[in-house]
C-alpha cells in the first residue's frame, strides 16, 4: 500500500510551498485561480484527502457531533425503539447536510459518557436521545453543564433551564388525540402510561389528555389511568388491570403505540371490540401501527423536523449563537382503531 499522500507531496509535485497547497485546497482567495486548479488536479490524481486529525488538532474543532442513545437497559436485546431509528435517520441526514460527521454510541456501554467525546475533542457537541426518564441522568447533566460541554437533549423541557431541550409538544399531542375521540362521541376515557414526572413525556401526554377532557366538560377519573412502560407486554398488562378493576370506558388513549397494541390484545381477549366498544389511540406512529389490527390511530411526531432542529440548535450552541428550547407540533394519523371512517 502506497503511503498516503500529504500536502507536502502535492507541494513538491506542483512546485509550490506546502502553505500554498493548504490554501488552495481550502479555496483561499489568496491563491491565484490557476495555481489553485493545478494543485487541485494533482490532489485528485494522488487521491489526496486532508488529514482530519491534523487539521482538527490545528483548528481545535472536530466538525463532528456525537449522538448518545440513552436507552432503558431493559431492552438491550438489539431491540431499539423504532422511533429512535427514525430520529437517528433524520439526525444523520441533518448532520451530513451541515457538513458534520456523526459519532453514535449507546449510553450503557460507556460509564464515562458525559466526558468521553467532547472532552477528548472527538466531537464539538453531543445530542442526547432517550425516551422519557432523564432523572437517572440528572447528575450527569449537571456535570456536562459544569464542564461547559455543548449538548442538547431530546424530550420534555428540563427543570434546569440551562439545559437546552428539543422535543415534540406532548401536551398538544395528548390534547389532539383526546379531542379527536371526544369528537367521535366518546365519553368515558382510560389512559395507559406513566403519569408521574419520572416519565416526563408520558406525563405531558396525560396532562394534555386531562386538559382536553376538562375543556369538554368530561370527568377525569384517576382510577382509569394505569402506569405502563413502552412495551406491548406492559400495555397488555395495564389493560388487564383496568378491566380487573371493573372500569368502564369507551375510549382508550395509550402513551405509546406499543402500549396501545398490547392493550388491544387484552381487550380482544375479553371480547371487547375495537373500535366498536372501545376506541383506541396510540402515540408515535411506529411502522407497526399501520399493521395492527385494527390499524392504529396515533399521534405522529415529526422526526424529520425534529432531527433537523436538534442538529441546528446544537450547532448554534457550539457557535455561541442564541438558542432556545423548542417544541415541535404533532399531528394525528387517523386509522381504524378510533372508530373514524378512515381505512
Amino acid at each position: 500500500m502506497a503511503a498516503k499522500a500529504t500536502s507536502i507531496d502535492i507541494a513538491y509535485r506542483a512546485g509550490v510551498s506546502q502553505s500554498t497547497v493548504s490554501r488552495a485546497l481550502r479555496n483561499s482567495p489568496l491563491v491565484s485561480p490557476e495555481t489553485r486548479e493545478r494543485i487541485k488536479a494533482i490532489a485528485r490524481e494522488l487521491n489526496y484527502k486532508v488529514d482530519k486529525n491534523a487539521s482538527n488538532l490545528r483548528t481545535q474543532n472536530s466538525h463532528t457531533l456525537a449522538l448518545l442513545l440513552c436507552e432503558d437497559p431493559t431492552n438491550d436485546d438489539s431491540l431499539i425503539n423504532p422511533f429512535f431509528l427514525s430520529m437517528l435517520g433524520s439526525i444523520t441526514r441533518a448532520t451530513a447536510r451541515q457538513g458534520y460527521d456523526l459519532l453514535v454510541s449507546f449510553q450503557q456501554l460507556s460509564e464515562d459518557w458525559h466526558a468521553d467525546y467532547e472532552d477528548s475533542n472527538k466531537a464539538d457537541g453531543i445530542i442526547l436521545l432517550g425516551y422519557g426518564d432523564y432523572m437517572d441522568y440528572e447528575q450527569k447533566l449537571e456535570k456536562l453543564l459544569a464542564q461547559n460541554t455543548h449538548f442538547v437533549i431530546w424530550g420534555a423541557e428540563h427543570n434546569n433551564k440551562s439545559v437546552l431541550s428539543i422535543g415534540c409538544d406532548n401536551v398538544q399531542g395528548g390534547v389532539i388525540a383526546t379531542e379527536h375521540l371526544i369528537g367521535l362521541g366518546r365519553k368515558e376515557f382510560a389512559f395507559l402510561g406513566g403519569a408521574s414526572s419520572h416519565c416526563p413525556e408520558f406525563r405531558d401526554r396525560y396532562l394534555g389528555h386531562c386538559k382536553a377532557l376538562k375543556a369538554a366538560g368530561l370527568v377525569v377519573d384517576k382510577r382509569r389511568q394505569i402506569d405502563a412502560i413502552s412495551t406491548e407486554a406492559s400495555g397488555y398488562e395495564a389493560a388487564q388491570q383496568l378491566l380487573k378493576k371493573g372500569m368502564v370506558f369507551d375510549a382508550l388513549f395509550a402513551a405509546s403505540d406499543l402500549i396501545a397494541i398490547g392493550a388491544i390484545r387484552a381487550l380482544k381477549e375479553q371480547g371487547i371490540a375495537v373500535p366498536e366498544d372501545v376506541a383506541v389511540v396510540g402515540y408515535d406512529d411506529i411502522p407497526v401501527a399501520s399493521f395492527a389490527n385494527p390499524p392504529l390511530t396515533t399521534v405522529k411526531q415529526n422526526t424529520q423536523l425534529a432531527g433537523e432542529i436538534l442538529v441546528e440548535s446544537l450547532l448554534r450552541l457550539i457557535l455561541g449563537k442564541e438558542v432556545s428550547t423548542q417544541l415541535i407540533p404533532t399531528s394525528l394519523v387517523v386509522r381504524r382503531s378510533c372508530g373514524a371512517g378512515a381505512a
Copy 2:
C-alpha cells in the same frame, strides 16, 4: 469556560515531564506506580482527557470505524429498514466493546463516500451495510480495493474474492423455510422476490427454495416466481399478479417480511385464507412480523452475531490478520401464517 487541560498542565502540577504524564496515563510499565497514581489523580481532578486528534495524528490510527448505510434512494423518508436498525444496534455495541468509536453516515449524501473516511484518517476501516443490490456500487468497491481501504460488506458473497463479505446464509434460509412448509404437507409453491443476480440476497433465498423443492421431489414452476422489492406495496402487487396469472398454490415463500405482509393482504382480498388455503413464510423477522394477521412465520437472521462478526472481521483486516468471508446460519421463527400449531 476554562481552557481544556493538556498533558503539560498536568506535568506542571505533578512536577514531572510531559513525557512521563503521557506514559502514566497510558499505563506504561516504565513509570513508577506511585508517580502514575499521582498523575492520574491530577488528571481526574482537572477533568483531563487525552486529545484524540493529537494522539491519532501521532499514532496514525483513529480507533474509529465508519458505518455506511447504503439504502435504496426510494425510501429516503426517514424510513430505514428495521433490519438495519437492529444491525446498527449490534454493530454499535460490538464496536464499543472493542474500544472503537463508530461514525455513521448514509451513502446518498456523500457522493465521494468511497474515500471520505479512511482517506482522511477519520476511520481505520469501513463497514458497508446495504440490502441486496451492490451492483450499483461495483465501481466504488473496485476503487476501495485499489486504494487498499479496509472494508467489509454485509451481504451475499461477492464475485470479486478480494472483497470481504459477511452475510447470513440466504440459501440455507430458503431451504429451511421451504422444508418447513413441505413438512406441513404443502406441495404447490409460489415465491415472491427477485431471482436475478441483481439482488443477490433474494436470489440466494430463491436458490435455497428451489433446492429444497427438488430434494423433496416437488416441481419448480418458474411462473410462480414473481419479482418484488422489499416493500409491502410491492408484495401486494406481486401476489395480485400471481393470482391474475391464474396460478394455483398452497404455499408462499416471500423473500422478505414486508413482501409477505403485502401478499397476505392481496390474498385476503381475494378471499384466500392464510394459512388454511395458502401457508405463508417471510424473511427477516422484523418487529411487525409478530403483529401481522396472522402472525408471520419467518426466517430470522442473527443480527447480534452478525454485528459482532462484521466488527471483528474488519478489525482483523485492519490489523493485517487473516480473515475470510463468512456465512451466518439463520433460524426459523414459527408463528401462525404457515399453518403450524404455534401461537
